[in-house]
């Protein structure tokens, strides 16, 4: 079965694929608020809701890249405001080390980001996403940490 031709058409104009992991208690609600406030953010952002930002295993980030993401952003409650008290403090350490490692193996800085967005920050959510998407446009397609089999 051939890959349908419509796909080929789309390929001509590159649009980034962006995965946003959002914590259920703050950032996902923030995204909700952005939506209900009619604030615009690019449709290229695909949100994955997680119970807490610290649920995001470093492997999730790599897997998103593997399957074709061009940028991965992780949003959680502001430090100190975690629904589970301390989850995002651990996230902060893990992601710092992971991002540093990605930089170390030569992946462009800026493809990954962590932002703290509360449930009340609909505006911030949309600004963050707009900024992140334009950063990814700037960096272009991710060719360094994707599985080629997913790109064919």
């Amino acid at each position: 079965m051939p890959i349908n031709e419509a796909n080929q058409e789309i390929k001509k104009e590159w649009k980034p694929k962006i995965v946003a992991f959002c914590c259920n208690w703050c950032s996902y609600a923030g995204a909700d608020l952005a939506g209900s406030s009619r604030l615009v953010y690019p449709a290229d952002v695909k949100i994955i809701r997680v119970p807490c930002s610290c649920r995001v295993n470093p492997m999730f980030i790599l897997r998103a890249f593997e399957k074709g993401a061009d940028g991965v952003i992780l949003c959680g409650c502001h430090p100190g405001d975690c629904h589970y008290s301390t989850g995002n403090y651990y996230t902060r350490r893990r992601m710092t080390l992971l991002f540093s490692m990605l930089d170390y193996i030569g992946v462009e800085k800026g493809r990954t980001r962590v932002e703290w967005v509360s449930a009340a920050e609909g505006v911030k959510f949309s600004t963050v996403m707009n900024n992140f998407v334009s950063k990814i446009y700037e960096l272009g397609e991710n060719v360094k940490v994707g599985d080629l089999r997913c790109k064919e």
């Binding site: 079965m1 890959i3 399957k67 074709g68 599985d147 089999r149 997913c150 064919e152």
Partner: protein
């Protein structure tokens, strides 16, 4: 017999690569493995062994078998055709050439493996006698003559020349295609090089190693039940290094990968040393580390010969001696369980 000045070897390889794909030991970040020739590739005769053996040319570590498309209830199956491009593999030593024979018995045995068979059919093996055997070499234990490396074309580095001879029709065709690059030479041009090689091998510490204790007359279950297996396995880490560098290990796994657009089925080398090798929903038949360790060596020394006309599943290249993280290897097993060398 034909010859070419050894200084011209890279030109010779370039000439081969001009007409067909050429695989040979190539260097990446300090290590030699079989890889495709690219302009500028140099042959290094001082490298005794590549890390991965030459089997990776015929039986690559991973290869695609099928592409599936799922659409609701519907399924389409699109087999990946076996490779049918002619190629040459250069620089194989006697042990690795014999390794092909060991694999042939498995993969060319009915029902044949289409992928391997096609590569064997289209590949021309250009062997070279090893220049300087090392202490880890014990090909002699399995009756391999390192001075007659075999293959479609066999060659010897003799003095300043590379002397070669075609053994098969495929080999003759290859030498013919090289035409005037090659000069004629005496049939005994490589004799002194061969004698030197033999002399070195005889002096090496494993020269006396033999397969007494693993022959047809030895009972399989007696060997299997030997208490020494436990202590032999006591240091083993259960990694797959020995399996992956081995020229004769042929076990593989078949796995699926979902690319988001289709499902690719591929096969990859696997190792009987891994705990999940025989794992099923209800458990595994070799839960113990010692059992898995025993399986690998029993397979090389007893199961394989029992199945395939007494031919051993080891060719004495010594890669496992060089690469095992804890230096446990088939020689230690043979000495412990076999007759005294």
């Amino acid at each position: 017999m034909k010859k070419i000045a050894f200084s011209q070897i890279d030109n010779l390889l370039a000439a081969i690569a001009a007409t067909q794909k050429l695989y040979m030991p190539v260097e990446t970040a300090g290590q030699y493995n079989y890889g495709e020739w690219t302009p500028g590739t140099k042959y290094n005769p001082d490298v005794l062994h590549t890390v991965k053996s030459a089997k990776s040319v015929f039986f690559p570590q991973s290869e695609d078998l099928i592409r599936f498309q799922r659409d609701g209830m519907n399924l389409s199956i699109d087999p990946v055709a076996p490779e049918d491009e002619d190629f040459v593999v250069f620089g194989v030593h006697a042990c690795d050439v014999k390794g092909f024979d060991v694999l042939d018995r498995v993969f060319l045995h009915d029902p044949v493996d289409a992928y391997y068979t096609s590569r064997r059919k289209h590949g021309t093996v250009f062997s070279v006698m090893c220049k300087a055997p090392e202490e880890t070499c014990f090909c002699g234990a399995f009756g391999i003559d390192s001075t007659a490396p075999g293959g479609d074309v066999e060659s010897w580095i003799a003095g300043d020349d590379l002397v070669m001879r075609a053994n098969t029709e495929k080999g003759e065709k290859l030498l013919e295609s090289l035409g005037s690059m090659l000069a004629d030479c005496d049939d005994n041009a490589a004799d002194s090089a061969k004698a030197e090689n033999k002399e070195v091998l005889a002096k090496l510490p494993l020269a006396e190693l033999n397969t007494v204790g693993f022959g047809k007359e030895v009972d399989l279950l007696t060997l299997f039940n030997r208490p020494e297996w436990k202590e032999l396995a006591s240091g083993c880490l259960g990694c797959g290094t020995c399996t992956y560098v081995c020229p004769t290990c042929q076990c593989y796994d078949v796995r699926d990968y979902n690319t988001g657009k289709e499902i690719q089925r591929f096969r990859v080398w696997d190792s009987c040393m891994y705990s999940d090798f025989t794992m099923m929903a209800h458990g595994t038949n070799r839960p113990d580390h010692t059992q898995r360790f025993r399986q690998r060596f029993m397979h090389k020394l007893k199961y394989y010969p029992d199945r395939y006309e007494g031919v051993f599943g080891c060719i004495g290249c010594g890669r496992c001696l060089q690469k095992c993280p804890i230096s446990m290897n088939i020689v230690k097993v043979m000495k412990k369980l076999g007759g005294e060398a």
